[in-house]
Assembly symmetry: D3
């Protein structure tokens, strides 16, 4: 079913056959008293409301039809009040295995994951400080589960880099800028900065859920990614015999303070140059990504993007490029 | 030297002989080019400037004369510009051992520490939840070092309960109110609340320094007590086989959120009734202590206390007690 | 008509006959130029849109059909766009007298009013300070109208304890906690605290309207409950010969400052321990009620409540109860 | 003693004989163990430290020598560390009666009080609304005590119009602008505006103490002037049979909301045009007075005033006046 | 077509023939795959959705049918879901010239523009300071384009005086109050105040677009009206030989600071009495206009206006006028 | 007089002969009625109080002895209350010309000005966009006065880069980081960014006074550097025939928004990626400089700097450098 149409391309009357992700699923009672199934089905290109009016047409376990499940569906595109929807004839639960490549169902980073992992490994290899090198290696190489999650998680639920691989993409971009900054400002400890950058959002792999839809985990809501990653770092450092306490404090300080202000969820303010730098470059990278995306997106047309809730302003899309020549 | 005069009692001309705590110490050069020693010497009753004009009168290592050291001094009280100061004839460093009972040098809790520890143990014994009981016991009984620090630390550097034993006094007071609240509101998990109360400030044992003067440790400034105690709790829970993850999250949540608002240093808001309760009772207890102290203190006289920086207001000291009788 | 179906139980096709409360009522002109009546009808279980397409079917005075009136209606349940509504055949205004027990139409406190009034009287009887006792008695016993309103009013329009009797329920709950606090902290004047608690929201009886729907009165919007109750207290005190001015100031201070911060509508900050305590216990009680309600409510399912506008966060619903046993 | 020198005119060596106001007074113990009296003595032109080294030279009751008392003193001007001070030979308490005209001791309004009272009476006479006229007359004419206080009180402890008569001066200035505004904007009820203006700060007569020094009374600190005047207005309205409730609400609303924002101590926001106007004109008048004063004052010289804490900025003193002529 | 019905008067079934303003215009694809035109058509009385189902019925250039264009339309009023809409039979672009008087399409100031311009000229003629007079004359008289725009622009996109001529109406109203204030407060430079008032919002002529609908221009969004008018003033002053730098600074200061606070977009705080006055009177005038409008408007009925987003509160509509007489 | 001792090196009894800068100067009257001169004299290493007790010893015009003047002085170092001061025998005004190299009197940038100007010229030469190139060249090359001021001004009065040449040093540092960022993020217009960086603080050359002491000019206080440089840019662009309006808007937007938030004095928020970048890099560079300086400075000793008012926190001075090796 590699040639399944993407949702954005569907037109009224089209037949639909294949796998879709159920973002929402609810059994409801119609005014006439009969039970029906209402779904929101999605792939990476968009989503549609879908209805199965006769629940007896469900194959297999009805309970398996729930939010965040993949479904195999058969039906056709209809129009209601000017909006397209799916009228389903058959629905059944689909195991992950038969669905194949997940990337069809989620927004993904523009950069291929293997390429990004290679860049990550290059950064790890460049670390000269033995303690920092060991700590990062324990977390990003030896811990295969964390490495896999780090390569897959988005950077946020909304705001910026909201796509699979987004966390890694954002982290590497900040790391790139940090490399430049360490060259530019002579007084920074480059390896310490790099540790701060690579670790500053690593807790998002557990704060966010992103297997099927992007949201917060219970632990994410209760603790937040900063507290999570602080714990992971301390635990990892604790397993390295002789790990210097001073270094543990400085790395934790960068991570704890990287939101820059208490009201943004950092329990302490940045008090070292390295912590200050990581905060600024992280914040800048996220906000620039929102701006670049707003400039590429053409929703609504015109020189101004729709109001961005992430930045609380509209973005000016018109880009200046030199024209003509100065008269003399 | 049990009959050494307290600093508050000294008058001009008195001889001074005995141990005092150096809160500040600096070697300076006089306008005439000779080196002298300027000190701020304290006991629990107050402090005085002190000068040793001839540094050759120092016995032993000059470098040992530094802030937060105990000193043995000999000298007399003089007056300069209407203020008393000490003119020293001899000074030497004094080891802790010879100084004896530290409580002469620091403000101490009004409640005896042994009595408070007994109350703490009673609370620990009352816990019915096996996991919570084990966790608290591991931290407050089995870890003798933490137990000792918990009995000695102040609750804050300034603000409230600024005395040795103040942390324990404050914690027990909050626990007492929490017991009442759990009886009053039926829907609270009492053992969970108790865990939150006992652990909410335990990181202050490491955030604050209080052996000689009250201040912040480096780690305290870089991480804050909330991040510290969160780590300790996770580590302790990690050492208890089978410790329920759900419980770990709920306890950590109380601790992380107990400042109540992000701008006060909590990375998450209280999202459970237990967390909300601990936040309110903690805040209330600290602020009430400030008010009671302001009412007892009679500085400046009158119905109003001096401006309290902790509460950003003056406190009304006049207490209402019923007088006379209603006419009918 | 005691067996009238509650609105939540209605299904398409059901006949409806009986009394309902009009929360909204408007005469409108259809696109075809004919006049019809559009209503929002409610009982304690919920509400429904209702339409009378032929206004000639109204019995009696058309003008009496307005918001906050009880109506006698006859009609049937229909469905439009998947939502139930009422198609009415007959409507007439209904006097309060024929409607009978109002509690069928409004959310009511879980605690019976007589039981709560008894608890209130017990508190009044426990006051030892003769002036405070007389003041409270004049307001809550001698003033029958205020007593009745105090027993009926909700504690708020939204936020917390939004039900008939809610103000009394909330007040008694705060009083219960205050009793514990006065026992716990030795330095509080218990009768003064009690006066503050019982009076802190009494102005809500006039700030809110709650005979038919919950809203603000004109006076409530223009003055707020704090200014209202301050006036009532001063007037009541003024009628007691010899009432001590110092006591009047201290009670008024508690009431005026009980929102705790200027930006929350208190013109002064709490400057006595009694005022501080009343503020904290009031705030805590209201917020805990919101949390308990959010935990009981199962809207949307899952571990998290919908976003609470009162608390500006989601509430975690999962409650911890001990399981298993610690391995040794 | 009408020709007593003002403090600002004193030079070293001058003899001093006459009445001065003690702003501060304290008995202290010198380093040599003898008791002496330290005073801060003031008249309207300034203040000086003063010392009586031999307390046996006090005539009459030593206890009567306290802050805010008038004293009769005899001594001479000396200089210490470049500052003038008084060395006293004799001191005794002086009753108000013998002191004569108080205005020698306090800053006073630039406008004579009788002239201002006449203007006030003219405004009262211009009121057409019978209820408003009666209310204002009851408060500002019939209540002789309030009228006297209203003519004497300052408008604030610091900030603006800090002088005897300042409250009346400020009130009349706002009233003058309000008259203009009512003429300019057609939709305002002029008598209602006038009532709001005249009453908006009347509680300051009891919030502030100003017999000897400017400060807050206990009641002022506990209730604030807004709550006080609201009570007075309600009480006065309650004594006028048939006083319209709607009018009482609208006047109280202006008074309660006149600080314009909750965080500035108003429990409600201005919700009528009259309330909005009174807020703006009150605020403007106070701030302009600060600016005009800063421009007249030449402290420090230069184009900029010292930092004004009332306005949180420096004021530009240079005033533009047209020069030269435009070339054509 | 002078007798064209206004949109507010249309009823179902009415024929429509004439010019309307397209506030929105979009070509869309129906579910059946055919292209149609969806419009929002407006005149000064209101707006309606309109549909042309067969785009072949468009006369002339389809591309000319766009937002902010005038259109000639022919069609009839239909009803859909209880709302009126237009079903169009023919549509074509209409040049401004054939449309005639624009005031039929936009809300306009209640005051006639010629009358307002006359008042403006009177103010200009009254200026005594030669430099200020010349500057204002260069901008408001000599610059015909600016004068025309100043007479046509609204004062804001939303908030207050949102109508053609609104900027001039608001400016003159502030100027009127400013005249009173300069008479009332003796220390103000009247001509400087007047310059500040007339210039304080003149940049809105370029910040806002108001030829067809009210919005922000690109430059308005990028620079804001304050920066724009500051530039214009500097440029105009620069063209007057010998224009005093001190005066330029003082005028610019008023303009730059007139929003009163940094967070409202003024880069500096008002530091002169003239700047403070202009800020307060400007703010007051705008807010009063919102209140008066809310009182006149009867939307929703009752004593309270709907929630005003401009003022973040509801407005009390009931106006007090004296009734009855005081009993004696 | 190239071998004049610096102020920091002076000891009691030293003779002083040479030029010093008068930061403060005042003629005062001693308690004995004679006139004396009190000065604060400074060079780059520090400052001292100085007194000339006999004003007849002044050579030349007494009026020329004023703040911010260079003085030639002769006297000796004395000690008063433990502080050194100068007792002067002779004083006269000194013209700039005879003083020679100013850098002896002010803190100066660590980078030589010629080197920095060369770097600036290199950046200018690298601009490809003809309009931007011309604009920058007109301002930084053709306008010799501005170029000279740009090379001399500090970057701030306090906060960061407070030294002669500091503005240029800061600007070049931001430019360096901006070059890296433009390489890193592909979507930025490098020449536009560079223009924004070079121009973002150029108004400080006129906002600050720095010939003698660092402060604000009148224009600086009244307008702020943002409004000043916006005007200069517009004027310069206006003189280049055909300068594109779109480019002018985009450059002005960067400059106007570069403080990032309205409450920090930017009248608009950054709405383009280029504006966002300039804001972040400017802010980061200033704050890093403060941190690096705090780490280099050893005032007070210890791991923590004194409280930095610029950053509202203490800075951690201990720098991590790898030690030892990881055990395997």
């Amino acid at each position: 079913m590699s040639d399944q149409q993407s949702i954005r391309q569907l037109k009224e009357g089209d037949a639909v056959l294949g796998f879709l992700l159920a973002q929402e699923a609810a059994y409801k009672i119609s005014a006439k008293g009969s039970e029906y199934l209402e779904l929101k089905l999605a792939d990476a290109s968009g989503d549609l409301k879908a209805f199965l009016w006769d629940v007896r047409a469900i194959e297999g376990d009805m309970e398996a039809i729930r939010a965040d499940a993949f479904l195999w569906v058969k039906g056709s595109v209809t129009s209601y009040n000017g909006r397209l929807q799916l009228k389903l004839d058959k629905v059944r639960f689909a195991a992950d295995a038969e669905v194949g490549d997940f990337s069809r169902f989620f927004p993904v980073s523009a950069r291929p994951v293997p390429e990004m992992l290679e860049e990550l490994d290059g950064l790890l290899a460049s670390v000269k400080d033995p303690w920092i090198g060991r700590l990062l290696s324990d977390l990003f190489v030896a811990d295969a589960e964390l490495r896999a999650a780090f390569a897959q998680a988005p950077a946020a639920k909304s705001m910026h880099h909201v796509c699979l691989g987004g966390l890694l993409e954002h982290t590497l971009s900040v790391a790139g800028m940090a490399e430049h900054a360490c060259g530019h400002y002579g007084n920074l400890n480059r390896d310490l900065v790099l540790a701060g950058v690579l670790l500053h959002d690593v807790g998002k792999t557990a704060e966010l859920s992103y297997q099927r839809s992007f949201g917060y985990t219970d632990a994410g809501n209760l603790l937040g990614h900063i507290a999570m990653e602080a714990e992971w770092i301390s635990r990892a450092a604790g397993r390295i015999p002789g790990f210097p306490e001073e270094l543990r404090l400085q790395i934790l300080h960068i991570v704890l303070s990287h939101h820059g202000r208490l009201e943004f969820g950092s329990p302490v303010l940045p008090k070292t140059p390295e912590a200050l730098l990581v905060h600024y470059l992280d914040d800048l990278d996220g906000k620039l990504e929102v701006m670049f995306r707003a400039q590429r997106d053409e929703t609504g047309g015109g020189a101004w993007s729709p109001f961005s809730r992430a930045l609380e302003r509209m973005i000016y899309r018109r880009r200046w490029s030199a024209v003509g020549d100065v008269e003399n």
